[in-house]
């Protein structure tokens, strides 16, 4: 079922506004609390198919009818919130946001589209070796706010670590220097709990990019309600919590060993000789995280700009101009060499 939240005053599509944390009508500026939206929402159940019953697990694309204009909306199997490509109305697919697919938590968008656009322009302008043509390219309007599905894992961890450590000291007698190295066997048994370790569950999103967008501020974490998705795109998870557990466990293992290593202090050198880590998964919560994303092509190569929709942290790789790199290299080379020769001539 494709659904669109409508303004209770004028009936126009109404969207979630990150700045106010409320549903705001773009036409009559009516504001409605997110929690109140579902109660007053007039749902039009027009749909091409009964999605909850007939959602085809292995079908790549599904069709729904737009709540506002009646046009057919075609989405891929993971999309849970999108826009009608004819009238632009924000549309949610309830069947992909209910039951086992219902997210437990969500961090709502805090960064608005105009802020994301400004951040992108600033980011694109700061690269000294970025091609001039890239900055002039007007692809910025394609920037999209997406709620990306994540699993947040809670783990208990227990580690036994053994290490070989040394302390060095030196003394001198006559013309002989004695270098003494004291050797120690070091052991630590530590226990720690880690909470809400995120792992993105979207097949489309690059894991590295999503990791770099961390950390999110979990004080904004709230119970999921569908109106938060209005005005943004959203995905349901592509991988369940068991499939992604390995990624989270690797991080917890690294974290607990890091904590253990930090308790071994006062030595000249420390090398871990053995480590035995036991992990206990306590919980995994299905959560949607806000991300602004822009995929663009420059000279046939695809680049991605991503921004944490809550904190504003930017992740991306700017294209490089070899002409600019060569120009910078030549300029600095000539400048530095010339200056040194001048100094050598004047002061040498």
């Amino acid at each position: 079922m494709a659904e669109t939240y409508k303004c209770p005053s004028c009936g126009a599509p109404i969207e979630f506004d990150g700045a106010t944390g409320k549903m705001v009508c773009q036409y009559c500026e009516t504001e409605v609390d997110v929690s109140a939206m579902d109660k007053i929402h007039d749902i039009y159940d027009e749909s091409v198919v009964d999605e909850t019953e007939s959602e085809k697990e292995y079908c790549s694309f599904d069709g729904y009818r737009c709540d506002s204009c009646g046009a057919e909306i075609v989405t891929d199997e993971n999309t849970s919130a999108t826009f009608c490509s004819f009238c632009g109305s924000p549309t949610m697919i309830r069947g992909r946001l209910e039951g086992a697919l219902k997210p437990q938590k969500v961090i709502p968008f805090r960064i608005q589209k105009d802020q994301a656009v400004a951040a992108y322009k600033k980011w694109a302008g700061k690269g000294l070796v970025t091609p001039s043509g890239f900055r002039k390219q007007s692809t910025i309007e394609k920037i999209t706010g997406i709620y990306v599905p994540f699993w947040l894992y809670d783990y208990g961890s227990d580690a036994h670590v053994s290490a070989h450590a040394t302390k060095r000291r030196t003394d001198r007698r006559g013309n002989t220097i004695y270098e003494h190295t004291d050797h120690f066997q070091v052991g630590r048994h530590i226990r720690a709990d880690f909470e809400k370790i995120p792992a993105d569950a979207s097949e489309k999103m690059d894991d590295r990019t999503m990791d770099l967008l961390e950390p999110y501020n979990y004080s904004d974490l709230t119970d999921f309600q569908m109106p938060y998705l209005s005005g943004y795109q959203s995905e349901k998870f592509s991988y369940d919590s068991n499939e992604l557990a390995k990624r989270a466990e690797n991080r917890v293992r690294e974290y607990i060993l890091n904590e253990a290593r930090q308790t071994i202090t006062g030595y000249s050198s420390v090398s871990i000789t053995s480590a035995n880590v036991k992990l206990n998964r306590n919980k995994a919560s299905y959560t949607l995280m806000p991300v602004w994303i822009l995929n663009y092509k420059y000279k046939g190569k695809t680049h991605t700009f991503a921004m944490n929709g809550q904190t504003g942290k930017v992740v991306g790789k700017l294209p490089k101009s070899f002409g600019k790199i060569a120009a910078w290299f030549g300029g600095i080379f000539a400048g530095v060499s010339g200056l040194l020769m001048l100094l050598g001539g004047l002061l040498g």
Binding site: D211, S337, G338
Partner: protein
């Protein structure tokens, strides 16, 4: 035929003798014993040990005259078979440099050479060399340079190529002092020396040590007179700058273990730090400067002789 050869030889001898006397140069006789000295300060080559041919002596005399005039100092070369000392048997090592020093400075003083000068002794008696400077020559050539001069001339001396050694001496002095004559810092030092009416180099050093040090030492920027080095440094800096430009905007992972650690959940249940053993390595510190070049070095020093201030150093085979 034989008559012709004799005729040619006679003509050549006449030419050499005529040239020698025309230049004011007189080959010396004797072994160089100080008691037999008869020194003329217009003559700069005294080959008492007879290790040079007349032509070689004449050539050196000509070089000493022209270079000395150019540099404003006397350049004197002496070879000797007799320093006038009988060293105790088995105790020669370490004493010979003091004999050479005394010999060469007395020679310079008795010859009444110019206030500034440099003198090179090839001591065949104890088999070694010695170079001493006086007056402004001490400002232009310091102890370190004296060692460099000794290194340069030692090679020829060591190979019994005495003319090579003597020519090298004159050429090195010409290069060393000639370069510094064009240097404004040395010009200033020369001015200070002349204005102060100095004779004693140590006294001069005491007053102007900082200036002298600055003038002698290569400045930090001297190395940049090498364009190749400048280009290498320029290329390295340009490469680093470009790499920073390319990679500085890369995002960094800012979430770490503490980001997700539950407050108060970290517990150290057991810890031990057990000493097992100690290993020790030793290393020798070399405090002596060592010797090289096939000769034993006597070091350089400042001293007074005949009421004049000298600096010098030497070495033995």
């Amino acid at each position: 035929m034989r008559k012709n050869i004799f005729k040619k030889l006679a003509l050549l001898s006449t030419f050499v003798v005529t040239s020698v006397f025309a230049s004011g140069y007189t080959p010396v006789s004797g072994d160089g014993n100080p008691d037999d000295w008869d020194i003329d300060n217009s003559q700069f080559v005294y080959d008492y040990a007879d290790i040079l041919t007349d032509e070689e002596e004449l050539e050196l005399q000509s070089m000493c005259e022209s270079v000395g005039k150019k540099l404003g100092m006397d350049i004197v070369i002496v070879s000797s078979l007799e320093l006038g000392h009988d060293a105790p048997d088995g105790q020669i090592e370490g004493i010979e440099n003091s004999y050479r020093q005394e010999y060469i400075t007395q020679f310079y003083v008795e010859g009444d050479y110019a206030e500034s000068g440099i003198i090179y002794l090839m001591d065949i008696d104890y088999d070694g060399i010695y170079i001493a400077r006086t007056g402004l020559a001490q400002v232009y050539i310091d102890d370190y340079d004296n060692e460099k001069l000794l290194d340069a001339v030692w090679e020829g001396y060591y190979d019994y190529d005495y003319i090579e050694s003597a020519e090298t001496f004159i050429e090195e002095v010409e290069d060393m002092v000639g370069d510094r004559k064009d240097d404004s810092e040395f010009e200033e030092l020369e001015k200070l020396w002349n204005e102060g009416g100095y004779d004693d180099y140590d006294e001069f050093m005491g007053v102007y040590s900082d200036k002298v040090y600055e003038a002698y030492e290569d400045t930090f920027f001297t190395k940049f007179q090498n364009p190749f080095l400048c280009m290498i440094i320029g290329a390295v800096i340009a490469l680093i700058a470009v790499l920073i430009m390319c990679f500085s905007s890369r995002p960094k992972m800012t979430a770490g273990s503490r980001t997700y650690l539950k407050n108060g959940s970290l517990n150290i249940l057991h810890r031990f730090d057990r000493f097992t053993h100690t290993t020790t390595t030793t290393r020798q510190v070399n405090t002596s400067s060592g010797s090289g070049g096939g000769g034993s070095r006597g070091g350089s020093s400042s001293f007074r002789s005949g009421g004049r201030s000298f600096s010098g150093g030497g070495r033995s085979r």
